[in-house]
């Protein structure tokens, strides 16, 4: 499988502090890669670099084999990179309908987008006129994830979809993610709630202090290692 999204030796810093020390990571079409690691490891930063929101100090970013290092977020978005950021990736003062309207940049019409979003997430249909900031946390994440469905991205970057949500809702959201990947989208998922994502992941990478420590099968060995990492017992 050829990589759709590829980071090569990416270094990134916040101010003077280097957060990523040469990260190389690739995701192929139709593949779900789980990016795991302790708090502050730099997972969010990787996604932000991949979406063009945060500049890389050195290293390359490739999209479908093309070098897109340094492209602006808007251009990457049009080229098919879709980042659902940490927290709630919706515009809180816009209505659900207007939030959906913001997804038209990729070519679909407003009506088509509403159709897609409301069939996948019927709750949203009943709340079309409501201000997005007043939706429940789960509903807001559904609305955010609708962008990943409606804009036909090539690459979907998800940051902590589960934050603050009930396990049942998380399970449903990740079913949708698996569905998106089956259509050939390259998916990179950051998740603290590892159990939720390892079920659907094809591969997992563990990031510790800005370096990928391990990559491979999301099997039992990795689980054991992860729990050691989170509980702080192993080195």
């Amino acid at each position: 499988m050829s990589a759709l999204l590829e980071l090569r030796g990416v270094r990134a810093a916040h101010g003077r502090i280097t957060v990523l020390h040469g990260v190389s990571l690739s995701v192929a079409a139709g593949e779900v890669v789980a990016l795991l690691g302790p708090n502050g490891a730099g997972k969010t930063t990787i996604l932000r670099v991949a979406a063009g929101v945060h500049p890389a100090e050195s290293g390359r970013l490739l999209l479908g084999g093309r070098d897109v290092t340094g492209a602006r977020p808007g251009d990457l978005a049009r080229a098919g990179v879709c980042l659902i950021p940490e927290g709630r990736g919706v515009f809180p003062n816009l209505s659900v309908r207007d939030n959906l309207l913001m997804m038209t940049f990729a070519g679909r019409t407003r009506a088509e987008i509403e159709e897609i979003a409301f069939t996948r997430f019927p709750v949203l249909a009943g709340r079309a006129g409501q201000t997005a900031g007043t939706l429940s946390g789960g509903e807001q994440q559904m609305l955010a994830l609708a962008r990943g469905l409606a804009t036909d991205p090539a690459v979907l970057l998800l940051d902590e979809l589960s934050m603050g949500l009930a396990p049942l809702v998380v399970g449903r959201l990740y079913e949708q993610v698996a569905e998106i990947a089956r259509q050939g989208v390259a998916v990179l998922v950051v998740e603290q709630f590892a159990a939720a994502v390892l079920g659907i992941a094809d591969r997992a990478a563990v990031l510790v202090r800005g370096r990928i420590e391990r990559q491979g099968d999301p099997g039992d060995g990795l689980r054991a290692e992860l729990s050691a990492l989170y509980l702080g017992s192993a080195t």
């Binding site: 515009f91 809180p92 816009l94 940049f105």
Partner: protein, 703 residues
């Protein structure tokens, strides 16, 4: 009936203008998150520019209109976006509002500079030569019809843009979350530009349409913003249809008040103040919420050390003594208000700095103190000064009660409205009786103010008053420092950091807010009384909203959390006045200075006082340089007293000497400088300092 209809038509055409300007406010707020106090001033500038092109230079009306609306207004909007707002974009909502206050103040000063306010500039109405339209009993002039048509077109067009197009959605999305907007293919910078261009064009259209009906006057046109804000608040700064409705209410109310208000000495001001009263009421009646997710930036509020505060107070008193002996004649009068206005500015420190309550009415409170003193203290009785402080504090508490529902920029707007009510109505009233107490204002003109008698001495000369003001400023500064170190000060800061947390911790919000408003108003009233003594005759104009804005700006630039701000603001605001006599144009330069300073906020958002402090601290701590500085100053002072040098030479010499010595101190310190010690080793490799705890706490709090 016919008369009623006629007033209705006048009201509706005024309403149309308010609707145009108000919808511009809504547009800039929902698409850029900026509380645009300068919106009316932009319209004012457009009206003047249009006058200049059409009447002044004789260009044909359509050309002049096209140039103003299609070239100048968009260019001005882009200028505001690029030069003023981008540097403060990452700061909070309040900083952006301060920028707009600076722009308002600066545009008024600039317009009065370019277009001499004493000349009349009549502007003809549009289609003046066409016969008015008649429909049954109503008559509508073409100008009125045009105005209403413009309002309807603007409202419908804007509504469609914001709610029916992707560009509109992008513009609104950009305020919500710039980064996310970028992720959805929008260009936040472009969205902001479009918003500013359209907003300024709307302001310009409103300004040009209303200018023929009112005089072409910079202040009056800029304060149209009050009516426009009333309309916009009806729409909660969000809804265009409701803004339109609000405009109709305000426009018709004004028109009918003109027509039907009984003739009476107390009421004409009420008509002028009606939009402000309505704005105040609208702010209280319509629950508004901030845009979601707007964050606030909390400036640091260091606690002054006891020793530092004492040294500072002593220096202020010494400065007063020096000024009183050094200055002569006109300069003595020009610089007289320096220290009293410093006290007024200092009132912002507990109110805005500690408690986070942005109030634009502090100079009005000073006005109340001055009025009370003028009436009661004519004989110089010291108790009258106490009464002046108490009355101001009482009025401050009264403002705080309704204002409890407001916070942040809305509080600023509410207090501005209150100030306008005072300016236009209360301060202009003849005297009246309430419950048997005779209450007098400015007696519809000016008041004589005399100095106080203290300890058997009648303090009436400029020099004595200068010393008195210095001692008072020193004492008030000391008081504010004590307040900061005490329990009440810490509570106020907790209140500012989080009102919700303060309330859940069992604090009484109402009591704290009323207390701090009263305290600040009392300080301002005290400063106002001293200011009045220096001025000798006072008029309502000297305490108006427009007069108060520069003081607010200077105080913000100084840094609201710092006790040294009183002296700084007084000096920075009044100091440049010594240039007044030099040339005819210096007056105008001095008038725009505070606004320019305010626009520099982006460069030092935490204020200049801490910066000055950092720069001068080596001098104060140096055991060799400090005595040297003091000697130089003392020598300069003696030379001046002996009349060996003149005032300018003294100023230049003292400044040059002090700067040179500061450089020396910095060099000495650099030589002996301790190597930078990492935080972990504080208290180990070097002794633990008193301020380290706070430094660490703040570092941690900022994450």
């Amino acid at each position: 009936m016919e008369q009623f209809l006629a007033f209705g038509i006048v009201g509706l055409s005024t309403a149309a203008i308010y609707a145009v300007i108000g919808s511009g406010l809504v547009l800039t707020y929902v698409t850029t998150g900026v509380f645009n106090f300068a919106h009316g001033a932009a319209g004012m500038l457009a009206a003047f520019a249009y006058w200049q092109l059409s009447a002044g230079w004789g260009w044909p009306v359509p050309v002049a209109l096209a140039v103003v609306l299609l070239v100048l207004a968009p260019a001005f909007g882009l200028f505001v976006e690029r030069v003023l707002l981008r540097p403060v974009q990452h700061l909070g909502e309040v900083e952006r509002m301060v920028m707009m206050v600076a722009l308002l103040s600066g545009l008024i000063a600039a317009a009065r500079w370019i277009w001499n306010p004493n000349e009349a500039r009549p502007l003809p109405v549009f289609f003046a030569d066409r016969a008015p339209l008649r429909a049954g009993p109503v008559t509508i002039t073409w100008h009125q019809a045009l105005t209403m048509a413009v309002a309807v077109v603007a409202a419908v067009g804007l509504w469609a843009l914001l709610n029916r197009t992707r560009t509109g959605a992008e513009m609104r999305a950009t305020v919500d979350d710039r980064a996310l907007a970028g992720l959805t293919g929008a260009d936040p910078v472009r969205a902001n530009r479009v918003a500013w261009i359209l907003g300024t064009q709307l302001a310009a259209a409103g300004g040009i349409l209303i200018a023929p009906a009112v005089a072409l006057d910079a202040r009056q046109l800029s304060l149209l913003i009050v009516s426009a804000y009333t309309a916009a608040i009806f729409g909660r700064l969000r809804s265009l249809p409701l803004t339109f409705l609000g405009a109709v209410v305000v426009g018709c109310l004004e028109s009918y008040l003109t027509g039907y208000l009984p003739q009476n000495a107390y009421l004409p001001g009420l008509r002028l103040a009606a939009p402000a009263l309505l704005l105040f009421a609208a702010l209280l009646l319509f629950p508004h919420r901030r845009l979601r997710g707007r964050d606030r930036r909390l400036a640091p509020v260091p606690a002054p050390s006891a020793r530092g505060a004492l040294v500072f107070a002593a220096s202020v008193a010494a400065l007063g003594a020096v000024l009183a002996t050094v200055l002569q004649g006109k300069d003595l009068i020009t610089l007289g208000p320096l220290l009293p206005l410093g006290i007024v500015a200092l009132s912002y420190v507990p109110l805005a700095g500690y408690a986070g309550q942005i109030s634009l009415c502090q100079l009005s409170m000073a006005g109340i103190g001055a009025v009370v003193w003028a009436h009661l203290g004519a004989g110089g009785q010291p108790w009258a000064l106490v009464v002046a402080v108490l009355v101001s504090a009482l009025v401050g508490a009264l403002v705080a009660l309704p204002a409890l529902r407001l916070s942040g920029v809305y509080l600023a707007l509410g207090t501005a409205a209150f100030t306008v009510v005072l300016d236009r109505w209360i301060f202009t009233l003849p005297s009246f009786d309430v419950l048997g107490v005779r209450i007098s204002m400015f007696d519809q003109g000016s008041l004589e103010v005399s100095g106080p008698s203290l300890l058997g001495l009648r303090l009436d000369g400029e020099r004595e008053l200068m010393v008195l003001s210095a001692v008072c400023l020193a004492l008030v500064s000391l008081g504010v420092a004590v307040l900061r170190r005490g329990r009440f000060g810490r509570r106020l800061i907790a209140l500012r950091d989080s009102e919700a947390a303060y309330a859940t911790l069992g604090g009484n919000l109402l009591a704290a807010r009323v207390a701090v408003f009263a305290l600040a108003a009392g300080i301002a009233g005290f400063g106002g009384a001293l200011y009045g003594m220096q001025l000798r005759t006072i008029t309502a104009e000297q305490f108006s909203l427009v007069a108060g804005l520069p003081i607010f700006l200077i105080a913000v630039i100084g840094g609201l959390g710092y006790v040294g701000n009183g002296l700084f603001s007084g000096t920075a605001f009044v100091g440049p006045n010594i240039l007044l006599g030099l040339a005819s144009w210096t007056q105008n330069v001095v008038a725009v200075l505070p606004a320019l300073a305010g626009m520099g906020l982006g460069h030092s958002p935490d204020g200049l006082v801490p910066r000055l402090r950092r720069e001068w601290e080596p001098v104060a701590r140096d055991r060799v340089v400090l005595p040297a500085v003091l000697c130089v100053l003392a020598l300069a002072w003696l030379l001046r007293i002996a009349d060996a040098v003149n005032g300018w030479l003294l100023l230049a010499g003292a400044l040059a000497g002090a700067l040179a010595l500061r450089g020396w101190a910095a060099a000495r310190r650099g030589a002996a400088a301790e190597p930078e010690i990492p935080v972990e080793w504080w208290g180990v490799r070097r002794p633990w300092r008193a301020e380290d705890g706070e430094v660490l706490a703040r570092g941690i709090a900022r994450g």
